[in-house]
């Protein structure tokens, strides 16, 4: 098999391993790092699929910005050490089993897919190139693009609402006011 296949398998295994370690590792910071590994692997897949733009964005936005944000929060709360008390085992097992069952069911449902003859074009096809994407984005997809700005606005307002300290909080009055019901 050619380099593409080798790379595909390598990246896939890497991604899955990373994902598993994200879930299992005790130390949150390790989780973050493993998650970054997963992202990198996925970006690799994008490149294999010749979607360079997404690959880059994925690295910058996710592995870059978002993950840093996570780390930042961890540090802020200094949860860097393994502080999480263990959930009771049975719930853990139940969780894993359920996840696995979901996987099984989905695979079972999809293995007979009529798409199984289909193949994903590797390496070729320049739809993933930035100029094509840009053209389509700012031509056909301009409306959703604009609308997503509303999303950001609301997110921004929201963060302000939540982040801003109110006088009461400065006095640190915490409790179950009636407004919670």
């Amino acid at each position: 098999m050619g380099t593409t296949q080798i790379l595909f398998w390598f990246l896939s295994i890497l991604a899955i391993l990373g994902a598993i370690l994200v879930v299992t590792s005790k130390n949150p910071v390790h989780s973050v790092l493993w998650l970054i590994v997963v992202f990198v692997a996925i970006s690799g897949h994008y490149i294999l699929l010749n979607a360079q733009f997404l690959a880059i964005v994925n690295l910058i936005v996710y592995a870059g910005a978002i993950m840093v944000l996570f780390l930042f929060v961890f540090m802020l709360m200094n949860l860097n050490s393994d502080t999480e008390p263990q959930k009771n085992r049975w719930l853990k097992i139940a969780g894993v089993v359920t996840g696995g069952a979901l996987l099984l069911v989905l695979v079972a449902a999809l293995k007979e897919a009529d798409l199984k003859t289909q193949v994903a074009e590797m390496g070729r096809g320049d739809i993933g190139l930035i100029n094509n994407l840009g053209m389509v984005l700012f031509h056909d997809y301009v409306v959703p693009f604009e609308i997503s700005s509303v999303l950001f606005l609301s997110a921004m307002v929201g963060v302000v609402v939540i982040g801003r300290k109110t006088p009461e909080e400065r006095t640190g009055a915490i409790g179950d006011q009636k407004y919670g019901g």
Partner: protein
């Protein structure tokens, strides 16, 4: 289109209004004006006058069904703000931001009532959800509020993940690789991938309208959120998402309904059962209303199951009747000293007007004739009966409706037949009472001669 743009714009206006004026009243008035404007422009849309001619590349499709849904959303929001606007001030001192968020939510509402591609659906849902996370947690001093916000956020984004996976599958299964809902289905045999996508989408939407067994966030979030915003979530948001829900399944999967009706039936039955039965034992009226909203969702799901003309008329009517009644009840609830059933004891002595209107709203929710709720339920039932299948579900839902009487009437009993000094925190003003009476009048009118609304509906929905 008018509504989308203006609601977004007005959201920004609200943001700045907070900077330019400190007077709460002024801010509220700005919001009211905005809502009024929204109503108007939406009506213009209905008449076909579009202020903005934007080429949406078929990503949005403005039909009467959606626009009607919008106007109900705007209308009930207007009533809601008029009734409970003052109570927002007591949540926190970011009144302007709250209003801004509400307007953003409305923007999302207008999107999901008129979306034509899964992308817009996704964006709409997100634009609705994110402000709601915030509003839920807006009572920052309150641990319950925080908890509710975090729960809502975690589960909400989890369901977003499910929805996205579903969308991905549908995209994969679509013959031409598109997200436009009307050519998702090849029209040939339903492929497993398509089915998987459909189910995941069903699940995530069911989550948003809090249908069992994906309803678990609802009681906690409705209970934990500041009551004003609970009212908003439980009525306007939920109802609009329902409009989107129906729209999605009608447009995208209408032809293949034979394949998925059974799943909707299962979910409906579960929702009706859990919602109604669990509500029976609640001690807090607020939480009871949360469960009742689940139960009501179960009834609305009947329309999704039937997906015929009757169902579409019905869902609009149900939206109106349910929102108005629930807004009214919440508006009264907010004013109460004590949220438990005992808190309502003897309210009829202290506040006859409140008690009377509250009774009418409750009767409407219970679906007693002469209230809008009756025709709403009537439409839901008859839509399913019209399909000729699932009569067992109809009868089951009727039994559940009988159960629902139990908890709605507990409130009535408390107000009228129990001795007690249940009363409001502050003497409600004449305006408030007047507005409640108006709401009650609307409910009754909807119940006696819904013709005015209905004839219009039938005209539009069948011409469309």
């Amino acid at each position: 289109m008018n509504a989308i743009v203006l609601s977004a714009v007005w959201g920004i206006v609200m943001m700045f209004s907070g900077i330019f004026t400190a007077s709460k009243r002024a801010i509220r008035n700005v919001a009211v004006v905005g809502l009024a404007i929204l109503l108007v422009v939406n009506y213009l849309d209905l008449l076909g006058h579009h202020l903005f001619n934007i080429d949406v590349h078929k990503m949005l499709y403005f039909d009467t069904f959606g626009i009607l849904g919008n106007s109900i959303a705007f209308g009930s929001t207007l009533l809601y703000v008029l009734l409970s606007g003052r109570d927002m001030e007591r949540v926190g001192d970011n009144l302007a931001e709250y209003f801004a968020l509400i307007f953003f939510v409305l923007c999302g509402v207008t999107i999901i009532t008129t979306f034509n591609t899964l992308l817009m659906l996704f964006l709409g849902i997100e634009i609705i959800s994110i402000p709601l996370y915030i509003l839920t947690g807006s009572d920052k001093r309150n641990l319950k509020s925080n908890e509710a916000a975090l729960k809502y956020f975690l589960m909400g984004s989890f369901s977003t993940g499910l929805m996205l996976l579903g969308i991905a599958f549908l995209y994969g299964a679509s013959p031409t690789g598109t997200f436009f809902i009307d050519d998702l289905w090849s029209g040939k045999a339903v492929s497993p991938v398509f089915m998987a996508g459909l189910l995941l989408l069903l699940v995530s939407m069911a989550f948003k309208v809090s249908a069992a067994p994906f309803h678990f966030w609802t009681p906690d979030v409705y209970d934990g959120a500041p009551t004003v915003f609970t009212s908003f979530m439980a009525t306007i948001v939920k109802v609009s998402i329902f409009v989107g829900f129906v729209r999605l399944f009608d447009e995208a999967f209408g032809e293949s309904r034979e394949r998925w009706q059974i799943f909707v039936a299962i979910i409906t039955a579960a929702t009706l059962f859990i919602g109604n039965v669990t509500a029976v034992f609640q001690q807090s009226v607020k939480r009871m209303l949360a469960y009742s909203s689940i139960a009501q969702a179960g009834f609305m799901l009947l329309a999704l199951l039937a997906l015929n003309g009757v169902a579409k008329e019905g869902i609009i009517l149900y939206a109106a009747a349910y929102s108005i009644a629930t807004i009214g009840i919440f508006a009264i609830l907010i004013r109460m000293k004590d949220y438990t059933f005992e808190g309502f004891n003897g309210l009829a002595r202290q506040q006859p007007v409140l008690a009377a209107t509250c009774t009418i709203f409750l009767l409407s929710l219970a679906g007693i004739p002469l209230t809008g709720g009756f025709f709403a339920k009537y439409y839901m039932l008859s839509s399913v009966v019209a399909t000729g299948h699932f009569l067992w579900l109809v009868i089951f839902s009727v039994l559940c409706a009988a159960v629902s009487v139990y908890y709605y009437f507990r409130v009535i009993q408390a107000m009228y037949f129990k001795e007690g000094d249940g009363t409001t925190e502050t003497e409600p003003g004449a305006g408030f009472k007047g507005l409640l009476v108006v709401l009650a009048a609307i409910v009754v009118i909807l119940g006696v001669c819904p013709q005015s609304l209905l004839s219009q509906l039938t005209k539009m929905i069948y011409t469309w």
